[in-house]
Symmetry: C2
Subunit: 478 residues, 2 copies
């Protein structure tokens, strides 16, 4: 039942906000699925929804941390089995000592397990482990080391991005530079917090690289319109483009941010998803430069794909001074975190496991590496299969070194009056493939794209790609 009261005026920013990844195309797909049609959901980077298995090690540990009494029981079972083996059970049917002691160690360090609120920033032992992971990844020591007090555990990276944007946008003239195309979390959040979206355009034909000239043009245009640009977002590897940013582009961004006193928000959630190219973190590239940097990572992507558990972290480097207050930026992030109490503990534990893989030589290590390499090799193979299919589609080009979980081909040839939304909807109706039209992410005027997450099982791709090629060549010839 609806209220019989007069209509209510709601927050205009939320009313006007757009979020295409979960928009009309996936809604149509949901309806088709309810009607019994086969759907291949490539609209979201949601690997486990497409059959990717969770990593054995992560789940073994998480499961024990959630039910600590099992640890002692596992030890009892093992002891009994060693004395009097049941022929039906193999050694592999028992949880390794390494997993048992890792779980015990987590419980001891947490002191309260998963059922209590943690510190607002997240468990301190996890923040220490994250700092260590960052230092090892980037070769940082001494002064350059990550500071565990500048790390916040969050409910996924989206949560972290929103907090930073909410703090930085102080009024309706404050602008945030975002790449076009972009992950719509950014445009939606900037809208929600009442700021100005300032677009900049990576060079698609040049593998989505960034040039200082393009960044300056974007900034000048915004400033000429009275916008006070505070920060720029970089997504590397890219979403939706999937492209890996090269060292030169990263250096251009840092020099540009330094020259114009901007903060950098580096969305690096796909740092483990590079197939051939090299990931360079902004923290590493920054070196001793004191540009404020907010870098985001997440358990949702990589080779683990634990999207549902909503875990991630924000690392702050060179926190900005806060005007007119004796609080620093970290205090403000802490206050903001306090209102949400803490990030969920299962997500925190998985974040810990992400930054602390099983040690070399330990019992779970071999299987861990095997599972990891299988997932990454399959992702690479799927991306390659789809790229090859593009070669057979009239007027389709796809740029950039492959990273993340996405390809973002440009549709150079569409029938008159049709755009990429029409194309994606028709593709869905005909083949069951759910993709997102380029306009959902933003794109250069007059161009058309789509984003496909290269996640479906290989056999399914092998089946649907010929259908897509046939559909495509028919559609564009209409």
């Amino acid at each position: 039942m609806s209220s019989s009261q007069p209509p209510v005026i709601v927050n205009r920013n939320i009313l006007e906000m757009e979020y295409a990844v979960r928009g009309p195309i996936p809604q149509r797909a949901a309806t088709m699925q309810q009607q019994g049609q086969n759907i291949i959901p490539c609209n979201i980077g949601n690997p486990q929804a497409l059959g990717q298995s969770p990593l054995t090690y992560y789940r073994q540990v998480l499961s024990l941390v959630e039910e600590p009494s099992k640890i002692a029981r596992e030890r009892t079972l093992k002891d009994l089995f060693e004395e009097t083996p049941y022929s039906e059970l193999k050694d592999d049917d028992f949880i390794s000592d390494y997993v048992l002691s890792t779980s015990e160690d987590i419980l001891a360090k947490s002191s309260t397990g998963t059922g209590a609120y943690t510190e607002s920033k997240g468990f301190r032992f996890i923040r220490l482990a994250i700092a260590k992971f960052i230092n090892q990844r980037d070769g940082h020591t001494g002064e350059m080391s990550a500071n565990p007090e500048h790390i916040f555990l969050t409910d996924g990276a989206s949560d972290a991005a929103k907090r930073v944007l909410n703090l930085l946008i102080a009024d309706e003239n404050d602008g945030i530079m975002i790449p076009i195309p972009q992950y719509p979390l950014y445009s939606a959040s900037i809208k929600m917090f009442g700021g100005v979206q300032v677009n900049y355009y990576p060079d698609e034909d040049n593998d989505w690289t960034l040039s200082r000239a393009e960044l300056e043009t974007s900034l000048e245009k915004a400033q000429s319109e009275g916008v006070n640009v505070k920060a720029m977002v970089v997504i590397n590897p890219g979403n939706p483009t999937g492209a890996i940013l090269d060292a030169q582009s990263i250096r251009e961004v840092i020099d540009f941010a330094k020259a114009h006193h901007l903060a950098i928000i580096a969305d690096e959630v796909y740092q483990d998803n590079v197939y051939g190219g090299e990931f360079i973190s902004f923290a590493k590239a920054l070196g001793a430069d004191t540009v404020p940097l907010f870098s985001l990572h997440s358990i949702s992507k990589g080779f683990f794909g634990e999207c549902g558990h909503r875990g991630g972290y924000l690392e702050v480097r060179n926190p900005p001074q806060v005007a007119g207050a004796n609080l620093n930026f970290i205090d403000l992030l802490l206050k903001q975190a306090s209102v949400s109490l803490c990030a969920n503990t299962a997500g925190q534990i998985l974040t810990y496991l992400m930054v602390s893989p099983p040690e070399q030589g330990s019992r779970p290590h071999a299987l861990f590496i095997q599972e990891k390499e299988k997932v990454l090799a399959e992702l690479h193979r799927k991306a390659t299969m789809i790229r090859s299919a593009f070669n057979q589609m009239d007027g389709v080009e796809c740029f950039g070194k492959t990273g993340a979980m996405y390809l973002f081909p440009r549709l150079n040839k569409l029938p008159a009056g049709k755009n990429d939304y029409d194309y994606c909807m028709a593709l869905l109706e005909e083949t069951g493939l759910v993709t997102v039209n380029g306009s959902g992410f933003g794109q250069k005027e007059g161009t058309h794209h789509l984003r496909i997450a290269f996640l479906p099982p290989i056999e399914l791709l092998a089946e649907v790609l010929p259908q897509w090629i046939a559909f495509h060549n028919r559609f564009v010839a209409m």
Copy 2:
């Protein structure tokens, strides 16, 4: 290292927002603890941090859902054991069939387990279970039944409250009525979203009841100042007061909201925490009235206390019409939820278990009831112990039927120049008891209070209460 860039102007709302529950007193407590002093953290309703054990049933199921391969293994172990019992193992060392099949059932209904993003609203099978729970709790059938499409799973109730407030506050003249004292999530969120906090005062000396006259006075005052009041928050059982709202007060609220076209935000996270009084849900009291109602529940409180897992739900009844848009309020909540992708899955699973306790007669049922009753009986006993201590403290009065996890005594006698903040800080220094001063929640001018969460183990309370009494009578006589 800090940035060498010029100071940045940040969001003033976040800069000015206050959040006392995690403010200077708990910060001082943390320092004392680091220095090796004993601290009794009664500043937060965080039961498992104070030794309360998680419910066996919840964790057994969650643990299996997180590692599904264990289900088959448990069956194998059990079969083997039944054939050839190991004398060292008892039947109780095996997971019951009921737990195994509940876990399988959850996995089957979820279809993607805990590792994938769920629908933005949360798993549909959980929303169906919540609707059933609400209908049973409130005796609703037919037209009055809860609608699973109007239920949203959230990362704790705080998340739900923030979403509703963010949507309702459309500009800086929009006001939200909140009780004084209140849980600072509300004042902080209203501040964060740029609205106006409109205070109303439950009648402390009359067990914190609400009267229509008080509500009208509060509204009139706000309207005379140009404030456009959109909704009122009710917290029942109360936080920080711990008081249970009576039927008459609830009726007054509904009639008042109806007369003035306000929405009701009913924070009912303590609905299982009633010791002697009766909890009446707003959904039940509403009956066929079409006042918009947003009711919140959570896994953090009750007898389960799963704070760290951040689970909860929002149920919307009579969603308001949205002015100037063909989207309805549910669509807007959905869009908002989409930007966060989904609530964390472990929290969702625990929410499912909260609304679906083990069936009577099932193997886990007896233990479940035993654990439930033990926790509730202990909470009641602790509240009673603390209330008795108040009787020995000069000038301390505590009103209301006991509910939630808090007592909120009034300190009628304080030395000249001292307030409740001074009192709580001195209490901490002297006894290690961490409480929150009444001013952290708001209180009638000229009064002083504190909030204590009645969670510490009974032996610890028995030890500290005499120290508190001694401290108190010395402090007020200064």
